[in-house]
C-alpha cells in the first residue's frame, strides 16, 4: 500500500463522506459547510493529479467566494431546516430518482472504466510548472478568457439588479 494510494483513499473518502452529508442532511447550513470540506478534499486531489494552480484557484474561488455567498444568502434569508413532518420527496419521486441515478452511475462507470487507462507516467517538474497553463491561457484561449470577463460583468450587473429592493410605491424614486 504505497503512500500515494493511502493519501488518495483518505481524500476520496473525505470527499465522498462530505458529499453524502451535503445531499442528505436537512440543515442547509451544515450542507454548505460539508460542501466546503468536499471542495478542499477535491483541491487536494487536484494537487495529486498535477494541477496545483487549479487547486489553489478552487480554494480561492469556490470555497473562498462562492460558498461564502451561499452562506450569506442562507443566513440573511434565515432558512429553516426542512421539516421532518412532510417528507422532502414523494415515494414516486424517490423511486424515479433512484432509477435515474443507477442508470447514470452505470453509464458513467462503463465509460470511465473503459477509457481511464492505468497509471500515467510520473510528473516532471516542468509539466506542473505554472508557465505552461499561463502560456496556453493567454495565447490559444485568449478569446474565451476575455469572454469570461464579460460574462462575469454581466453576472455582477444581473445579481445587483435582481437582488435590489424594489421601491415601495411607483411615486417613490430611488
Amino acid at each position: 500500500m504505497s503512500l500515494e494510494v493511502l493519501v488518495f483513499a483518505l481524500f476520496a473518502a473525505l470527499a465522498l463522506g462530505s458529499a453524502l452529508v451535503v445531499v442528505l442532511h436537512r440543515n442547509p447550513v451544515v450542507s454548505t459547510m460539508s460542501l466546503v470540506v468536499t471542495l478542499v478534499a477535491l483541491a487536494a486531489l487536484f494537487v495529486m493529479l498535477g494541477a496545483p494552480f487549479i487547486a489553489a484557484l478552487q480554494i480561492l474561488i469556490y470555497t473562498g467566494a462562492i460558498v461564502v455567498l451561499f452562506l450569506f444568502v442562507l443566513m440573511l434569508l434565515n432558512v429553516q431546516r426542512e421539516s421532518a413532518a412532510t417528507p422532502s420527496a414523494g415515494r414516486g419521486q424517490l423511486w424515479g430518482t433512484l432509477i435515474v441515478a443507477c442508470a447514470f452511475a452505470g453509464t458513467l462507470v462503463i465509460l470511465f472504466w473503459r477509457s481511464g487507462a492505468g497509471v500515467p507516467a510520473p510528473l516532471t517538474a516542468a509539466e506542473v510548472a505554472l508557465p505552461v497553463i499561463a502560456r496556453l491561457l493567454f495565447s490559444q484561449y485568449m478569446l474565451p478568457f476575455e469572454i469570461i470577463g464579460l460574462l462575469l460583468l454581466a453576472a455582477v450587473v444581473a445579481a445587483t439588479v435582481l437582488a435590489r429592493k424594489v421601491p415601495a410605491s411607483p411615486e417613490e424614486g430611488d
Binding site: 496545483p52 470555497t63 473562498g64
Partner: protein, 361 residues
C-alpha cells in the same frame, strides 16, 4: 541520511521555526506590547504588577483562560460552535507556509529551499488559505444563536471579502515586474538596493495594501464588528475562556501573517541591502560552539531573524494605529473599500504594468 529524509526534516524544521516564532514569541509578546503600548499612548501605567514592567502578564492571561468556565449556549449549534475557534486559528497559520525565511541554502550537500512549501503557486496559495478565515467568522456568528453575534459576523465577513479584492490587486501589482507567483523570486527582485524595495516604486500599492491589511484582520480603525462599545463583542460575544483565547490568538496570527506578507512583498523579506545572509552564516559557523550547525543553517537563521524583526516592526505599527485613530462606521468602511481602495489598486496595477512593459521596473 537520504536526500528525502533531509528534505522532510528540513520542512518540519521550517514549520517548527514558524510555529515557535508565532506561538512562543509573537503572541505572548504581542499581548504584553498591546497592553503596555496602549497604556503608553494613553498616558497611563498599564499592567505593572506581575514581574518587572508587567512582563508576566501574558502568563497570567493564559492561566486565566485555562481555568475560566467556557459555557456553551443552550441553543447553539453544538458542532459549528466548537469548530469556529479552531478554524480561526488554522486558517491564518496555514498562510505562513509560503513565506520565505531565507534563500536557498545547503545542508549536508543538499540544497534546501527557504520556504516551507516550495510551490509555483506561492502567493496564490496564501491568498486562498487566508480567505478560508471568513468561515470562522460566519460559523461563530451563526452557531452562537445570538442576534448580536449574527449581525457582527455578517458585517465582519462582508468587510473581509470586500477588502480581499483590494489586497489581491495590490499583491498582483507587486508580482507583475517579478513575473512569477513565487515569493522567493519577489524577494530576489528586491535584493539589489534599498530603493528596489517595492515600497518605493509602488507606493500607491503599498498604501492600498496597508489599509486592506488592517481591514482584513478586523483591527482598528476597521474593527466595528468586534468593538466593545458597538455590538457587545460582535461575532465572539458568546465565546469565553479558551475558545475566546483561540479567536484572540487567531487574530494575532492573521496580523502576523499579513505583516510577514507585507514585509516580503514591500520591504525585502529576509534580505537587507548590502548584507549577504549566507556570508554572515559562514562567519558565524567559524565561531566556537556553532560550527556543528554549518554555514547553511546559520545563514538561514540569520535571514529568518531579519524577517522576524520586520514582522515585529509591522506589528508595532498595528498597535500604534489601533490606539491612535477612531473607528470607521460600517457604511464608511464599505465605501472606502469599494469606491476608494479598489480604483486605487486598479490604477496602481495599470501604472505598474505600463512601467514594466516600458522597461522601467
Amino acid at each position: 541520511m537520504s536526500p528525502q529524509q533531509i528534505e522532510i526534516a528540513a520542512t518540519a524544521a521550517k514549520m517548527l521555526v514558524w510555529i515557535g516564532f508565532l506561538v512562543g514569541a509573537l503572541t505572548p509578546v504581542m499581548v504584553w506590547v498591546e497592553r503596555r503600548g496602549s497604556a503608553l499612548i494613553q498616558d497611563r501605567p498599564g499592567p505593572n504588577r506581575l514581574g518587572p514592567f508587567g512582563l508576566f502578564q501574558p502568563v497570567a492571561d493564559v492561566v486565566k483562560f485555562m481555568f475560566k468556565e467556557s459555557p456553551v449556549p443552550a441553543a447553539a449549534d453544538p458542532f459549528l460552535y466548537r469548530l469556529a475557534p479552531v478554524l480561526a486559528l488554522v486558517a491564518p497559520l496555514s498562510t505562513y507556509l509560503v513565506i520565505p525565511l531565507a534563500p536557498r541554502f545547503v545542508v549536508a550537500g543538499q540544497p534546501i529551499a527557504g520556504v516551507a512549501a516550495d510551490v509555483d503557486t506561492g502567493v496564490l496559495l496564501l491568498l486562498a488559505l487566508s480567505s478560508l478565515g471568513v468561515y470562522s467568522l460566519v460559523m461563530a456568528g451563526y452557531a452562537s444563536n445570538n442576534k448580536y453575534s449574527m449581525l457582527g459576523s455578517v458585517r465582519a465577513s462582508a468587510q473581509m471579502i470586500s477588502y480581499e479584492l483590494a489586497l489581491t490587486l495590490s499583491v498582483v501589482a507587486v508580482l507583475v515586474p517579478v513575473g512569477s507567483l513565487r515569493l522567493d523570486e519577489v524577494v530576489a527582485h528586491q535584493q539589489t538596493s534599498l530603493l528596489h524595495w517595492n515600497v518605493f516604486p509602488q507606493a500607491i500599492g503599498f498604501l492600498v495594501f496597508l489599509v486592506a491589511m488592517f481591514a482584513e484582520t478586523n483591527r482598528l480603525p476597521f474593527d466595528l464588528p468586534e468593538a466593545e462599545s458597538e455590538l457587545v463583542a460582535g461575532y465572539h460575544t458568546e465565546y469565553s475562556a479558551m475558545r475566546f483565547a483561540l479567536f484572540f490568538m487567531g487574530e494575532y496570527m492573521a496580523m502576523g501573517g499579513l505583516s510577514a506578507l507585507c514585509a516580503t512583498l514591500y520591504f525585502g523579506g529576509w534580505s537587507l541591502p548590502g548584507v549577504d545572509v549566507m556570508a554572515v552564516g559562514a562567519w558565524l559557523a567559524g565561531l566556537p560552539g556553532l560550527g556543528w550547525l554549518g554555514g547553511g543553517i546559520l545563514g538561514a537563521l540569520v535571514g529568518a531573524l531579519i524577517l522576524f524583526a520586520k514582522v515585529v516592526v509591522m506589528m508595532l505599527v498595528y498597535v500604534w494605529v489601533r490606539w491612535t485613530f477612531p473607528r470607521f462606521r460600517f457604511d464608511q468602511l464599505m465605501r472606502l473599500g469599494w469606491k476608494v481602495l479598489l480604483p486605487l489598486a486598479l490604477l496602481n496595477l495599470v501604472l505598474v504594468a505600463a512601467l514594466t512593459v516600458g522597461g522601467v521596473l
